[in-house]
Symmetry: C2
Subunit: 135 residues, 2 copies
DNA sequence: CGGCATCCGTCTCGATACTG
DNA sequence: CAGTATCGAGACGGATGCCG
């Protein structure tokens, strides 16, 4: 007899839902490109391969930790490649794969939408914030 | 002279960068739709307005807190509207605005890309993970 | 040069309990 | 029914120091 059937049902529903979430490829993709640095990194590489240090300078505010972490994640997902040139100072170059380059149109669409509609969003935001403590 | 010029320059660069980030409309948009619940919420409302409870059931795993919080954020941004019908049990309905509905194509594009390319991403991921502790 | 390991603050998120 | 308030856990991200 159900000491806590409600809680169990909650748990079951959650598991079910989490599974659905995990399965959903769109969610995974959104989580990737929604990441703070991913989109910037991909954009930085849009014009061609860059070395670690170049990326570091290009994305000014990023910490080495996040840079490495993000690069690894993208490499893992096959969105970019990492090639090491064994020289005296080691040389590492990152380049977009065709798969990764395929993200550029998506990002472009977002930029496009944003440029056209963000002003309206910002206006709505101001209106909302203004009403809160107006009069 | 300069006790910690390097650190200061770092800070300056970061501030500059953060400002750039904050200004970038695409980033703001990505942060919104990259949110765990936003895309699901928008999708849930794609077919028409829903009430709070209906949304709560529809998105099974979400807590009231996150539901309310996400709804408020989207309302603030003018992506959906909140209409209260003063009845005996209060009735609140949420509906996408045209602006919010404009997100659907974007989301659709993501879903599309994901469905076509996620298998490859997943394959790359397996390969990468496999190599780590292979042989 | 190109990392990796560690520590630590912040901030998000979820569970719970209570209200009109 | 539709929230609000509070609290604690945990993920996330940054700074630092060391290594090949």
């Amino acid at each position: 007899m159900a000491t806590s059937t409600a809680a169990q049902r909650r748990a079951a529903a959650k598991t079910e839902y989490d599974a659905y979430l995990a399965d959903c490829p769109a969610r995974q993709l959104l989580e990737r490109i929604g990441d703070k640095w991913v989109s910037l990194l991909v954009n930085a590489l849009a014009d061609g391969p860059l070395r670690y240090g170049e990326l570091s300078r290009r994305l000014a505010g990023i910490s080495q930790k996040m840079l490495t972490q993000t690069l690894r994640a993208l490499e893992r997902d096959g969105l970019l490649t990492r090639s090491v040139t064994p020289a005296v100072p080691v040389q590492v170059e990152y380049a977009l794969t065709p798969l990764g380059a395929g993200l550029l149109p998506l990002l472009g669409a977002v930029v496009d939408w944003a440029e056209r509609n963000m002003p309206e969003v910002l206006a709505a935001r101001d209106r909302y914030d203004g009403d809160t403590n107006a009069v």
